[in-house]
Symmetry: C2
Subunit: 217 residues, 2 copies
């Protein structure tokens, strides 16, 4: 397993549930964590609520500082945010965990994305970054719950650069219980993002915080 | 769990690997199994190779006779076959397990489907049938292997009719080790079909016959 112990991690949209949950687990694992937000004050408040040495700042500042940048913003603001950070994100691993979903009375469903997926949109907008897709299915509730010491989940990691996917697989294992599993190339990210809609349906039917495990590996 | 013990099952495209594997497991579980093919002789040969009382015939004949009909044909012939069997399939549960995939040097990828997914295409072509999507991720190799007495897999079952999805979940459990799990409405079938491309990538990377399990249910 790749050694990622010294890597600092910025989380754009780190004041949202999923971003904050990931920030918390990375900080607990000993990583330097930088929470990003449009508002530096909200980012600092979120970092303080997590503790464990997490810091906060504006998205551009934390993107420029960190080794690895996780994108956990709502899909609506995804493209515009990444376009505005092209310089700060150049040369870095950018981990996209955005799920383009719509919701109606029947539940969640996948939104069409012109580039194929949010991850491919990120890759198109950030030609000088190495985009990896991961962390789509983590339950924010489980990540934030102090009573949950292990999360029963395989994080699927997709990308076209082996070194980058190896790093993100190792980072995923900062969350106790989680296994980082290579899940294919970026062109197969759409169904991983959209699968979150199925997990939401499963959660409704079974009153659960469902995740997935890959068998036979 | 719904009692499905008396149901007969036809498998269109039952001479292919996936169809034959499913036929074998259903026959071993005591179901009357009818293998369908364009050629009645090839269907009878496949049935004989399975044993356990399986029978074979032309697609139209087995579709008309069985209680539940599984569609396991290549995607290329999917729409035309279903259009030709509209009368035979009327009033029945039709279980679509077709994965619209393309292959190139980089592996498998999802093909676009005008209706959204193969399952939604089936529903559009068969307005008088109840279409359910399931069995996309079963490994034909494991289904056919006499040494495999348990398959480590959750079969995701998608559909808009609760009675039908309950029946197909119960049928899935005819395969030892398998759990039938409700996976959402038919409009969320595309990503389940396309996820097969990711499993193929995982199989390549890890030299496995990967499946998936849903956690926390």
């Amino acid at each position: 397993m790749t050694d990622v112990s010294g890597l600092s991690i910025a989380i754009l949209g780190g004041t949202g549930d999923q971003g904050k949950g990931l920030a918390r687990r990375f900080a607990l694992a000993g990583h330097r964590v930088l929470i990003g937000s449009r508002s530096a004050q909200r980012a600092r408040d979120a970092a303080a609520s997590i503790g464990a040495g997490a810091a906060g700042g504006e998205n551009a500042a934390v993107a420029a500082e960190a080794d690895v940048v996780i994108v956990a913003v709502p899909y609506e603001g995804h493209r515009a945010l990444l376009e505005s950070l092209r310089a700060e994100l150049a040369g870095k691993i950018v981990v996209d965990c955005v799920n383009p979903l719509g919701f109606d009375k029947q539940g969640a469903y996948a939104l069409p994305v012109a580039e194929g997926s949010a991850a491919q949109q990120a890759a198109a907008v950030l030609p000088d970054s190495t985009v990896v897709a991961a962390f789509h299915h983590v339950s924010a509730v489980l990540l934030m719950d102090p009573a949950v010491d292990k999360v029963d989940l395989d994080v699927l990691v997709l990308g076209d650069d082996r070194e980058a996917t190896d790093i993100v697989q190792a980072l995923a294992e900062a969350v106790p219980g989680v296994r980082g599993v290579y899940g294919g190339r970026l062109r197969n990210a759409q169904q991983i993002e959209a699968f979150t809609a199925n997990l939401i349906s499963i959660n409704r039917r079974y009153k659960a915080h469902a995740g997935l495990r890959i068998t036979d590996i």
